[in-house]
């Protein structure tokens, strides 16, 4: 039990530090690489609570695909402006204030409601891992319509991205 807490603490500390670097670093390429650490931490947390399939999917889609997409986006839009963001100071303090207020409200609500709730409280023998077979059973029976809708959405996004980003012929 204690090992779980230690593992969670290490992962959480690394994730929060990296997330802070993502939103504060000047070099956008570093931001993308710190984002990898955050996403890997999320995947590790998923494995920690027994959500194996979602953890693997997180690695495949986020670290495998989304980050590569971000790196392409960064390389295709390189400007001098990346290095020099000193002028965002006028919005920095309102933004910090908003984020801290939001955090205070959420922490207050969460601590008030879930103060001592154990994650595996529902089962006497601790929690059972939610296997890939269970996920697929549920996904392809009860959630088949949303699944198909998401596949159509992905197709639409694919075509939309091509249409938006391609160069006009002779234009």
């Amino acid at each position: 039990m204690i090992a779980e807490h230690v593992a969670f603490g290490i992962i959480a500390a690394v994730m929060v530090a990296s997330a802070l670097r993502v939103v504060t670093t000047r070099d956008i390429m570093h931001a993308a690489l710190y984002l990898v650490i955050v996403l890997a931490g999320v995947a590790a947390l998923f494995l920690l609570v027994g959500a194996e399939f979602t953890g693997i999917t997180q690695v495949l889609i986020y670290i495998g695909a989304v980050i590569v997409l971000f790196l392409f986006g960064i390389m295709l839009t390189r400007t001098d402006f990346d290095q020099d963001e000193e002028t965002d100071h006028k919005r920095k303090f309102p933004a910090i204030l908003t984020a801290l207020l939001l955090l205070a409200v959420m922490i207050g609500a969460l601590v008030d409601r879930f103060e001592d709730v154990k994650l595996d409280a529902n089962l006497p023998g601790g929690q059972t891992p939610q296997t890939t077979a269970q996920v697929s059973d549920e996904l392809f029976s009860q959630y088949i319509v949303p699944f198909e809708a998401v596949s159509v959405l992905l197709l639409a996004a694919l075509i939309g991205a091509i249409v938006i980003a391609r160069r006009e012929e002779g234009g």
């Binding site: 986020y62 989304v66 986006g73 996920v135 959405l153």
Partner: protein
């Protein structure tokens, strides 16, 4: 393990993402901050799924991951188009419709 550990981490990540969206001017970085927010939501979904011992939390998280991938694709295409037209991805300069 306490449920609140996961939920509080999700809240912290969410707020960091909100700060990124509000304070940064680089279009790609704003998209990255949105990814942070969506990941915070996924942590909550999976934590509640594990808490109730159902796979529904995982399934919703999977849907969020898929929609986020689609969103990044479209978002980066828009940023690319912006860069091509204006040689800049500074979101403060995108104020054509400002009154």
């Amino acid at each position: 393990m306490y449920l609140n550990e996961m939920l509080l981490l999700g809240a912290v990540l969410f707020c960091i993402g909100v700060y990124g969206v509000l304070a940064r001017r680089n279009g790609v970085l704003v998209l990255m901050s949105i990814e942070l927010i969506l990941n915070a939501v996924n942590i909550n979904l999976v934590a509640f799924g594990a808490f109730h011992d159902t796979v529904q939390g995982q399934i919703f998280a999977l849907f969020v991951i898929t929609v986020a991938a689609a969103e990044v694709g479209i978002g980066l295409a828009i940023v690319l188009l912006l860069y091509r037209n204006r040689r800049s991805i500074d979101l403060d300069q995108v104020d054509l419709m400002k009154g």
